[in-house]
């Protein structure tokens, strides 16, 4: 997935045309364990970079999911409401959280796949 970018909050982002699809990484889902609930943002919401806009709850704990870039939420993955386990089974495809139409350039601290893998190694 060479077109994927990663944040230090263990989220991934894939820019296709004008729209960025966002989810949590395999490392993140593995650390959370079995996901049982997600709280997704409202469509149309304007979000700032780094703003907590979704929540993922596992058997263990609740964690915030942040907007990795500023923009407007244009779509959410409603399949997660009935089947949050998709986040565990397919975190970087069917387990996506939301889509954002960016309001500016991508933040420059996003990592590519190799840099993210190296970052995870340091944890």
């Amino acid at each position: 997935m060479s077109d994927m970018k990663f944040s230090k909050d263990h989220e991934w982002l894939r820019l296709e045309g004008d729209i960025a699809t966002v989810g949590i990484t395999d490392h993140a889902q593995n650390a959370l364990g079995d996901v049982v609930f997600v709280d997704l943002p409202e469509i149309g919401r304007e979000v700032a970079q780094g703003e907590a806009i979704a929540v993922v709850e596992s058997v263990k704990a609740a964690s915030d999911v942040y907007a990795p870039l500023a923009g407007r939420v244009v779509e959410v993955n409603s399949a997660l409401v009935d089947n949050p386990a998709l986040i565990n089974s397919d975190p970087t495809a069917k387990g996506w959280f939301f889509r954002i139409e960016p309001s500016g350039a991508l933040p420059d601290d996003l990592m590519d796949e190799n840099a993210y893998a190296a970052f995870v190694e340091t944890l």
Partner: protein, 341 residues
Amino acid sequence: MVPFAGYSMPVQYAPGIMAEHLHTRAAAGLFDVSHMGQAELVGEGAAAALEKLTPADVQGLKPGRQRYGVLLNPQGGIVDDFMFSNMGDRLFLVVNASRKHVDLPLIESVLPAGVTLRALPDRALLALQGPGAVAALATLLPDVAALKFMGVWAGDGMIISRSGYTGEDGVEISVPAEAAAAFARKLLALPGVLPAGLGARDSLRLEAGLCLYGNDIDESTSPVEANLVWSIGKRRRMEWNFPGAETIRNQLDHGVTRLRVGIQPEGRQPARGHTPIQAGGATIGEITSGGFGPSVNAPVAMGYVAREHAADGTPLDLLVRGKGLPARVAPLPFHPHRYAR
């Protein structure tokens, strides 16, 4: 691995909390709970001495039997909850890891001459829990098959009680530390037995409606508020000679202002510990334990609510991240106990 009460403990193994939980309910899970405090009380009058601190009926407990009790402070608050067994010539105690530094000196302080408290830091504790637990263990130790719920067997340096913290049939096995790892490997080699961590232990006990010390009970909660009146012995309720007896008698006669209840959130969203509980816009309590119940396949919680909101079915709002999550007071346990009575 996470730090817990000074120990490094496994939260989960590779299969994860959900799988470990469900496997324990379906077959058998092995938990290393060696962090729990173990001790023995020896000497003429040991049971009477322990009754100076607990409202449980210790003197009436028959040899080979185990019972649950609470230690109380002079205000009737719960210093700890614990298990005690009559081993014939001694009492065997299991207390919480986080409280052993409080409990043991407290017990020591009430002992008459001739009664000795001995901490047993060199004993490990393994919990083998689930419907397949006793049959599996009986292939190694046939005697345990004859135990009933809360029965205790001693032999080969071990103390085995048919009890646990999951709501399932099963045993807790006290074993000398130097023999523990080899014995745990033997248990893990039995058919149907898989290791389970602290995470599954917590979700299992929560579904079973069992209290976690420090979350659901502490020195500020009384056994009446905590709905643990059943742990007070009948004889003790005539003698009223335990710490806080006056307070507790008053609470039993006139009621308490708050009660521990089960709480079932509607929908799928869990409400965790410390979530405020509201009714009609007013805060009337707080969640003390909450999460997702894998066997119930829904969120489950317990907490304290004002007495007038404590009846089963009473609607509540749980304030999760600023939003009211609808919930109801629910009977405990969430998942039926399956003890070998």
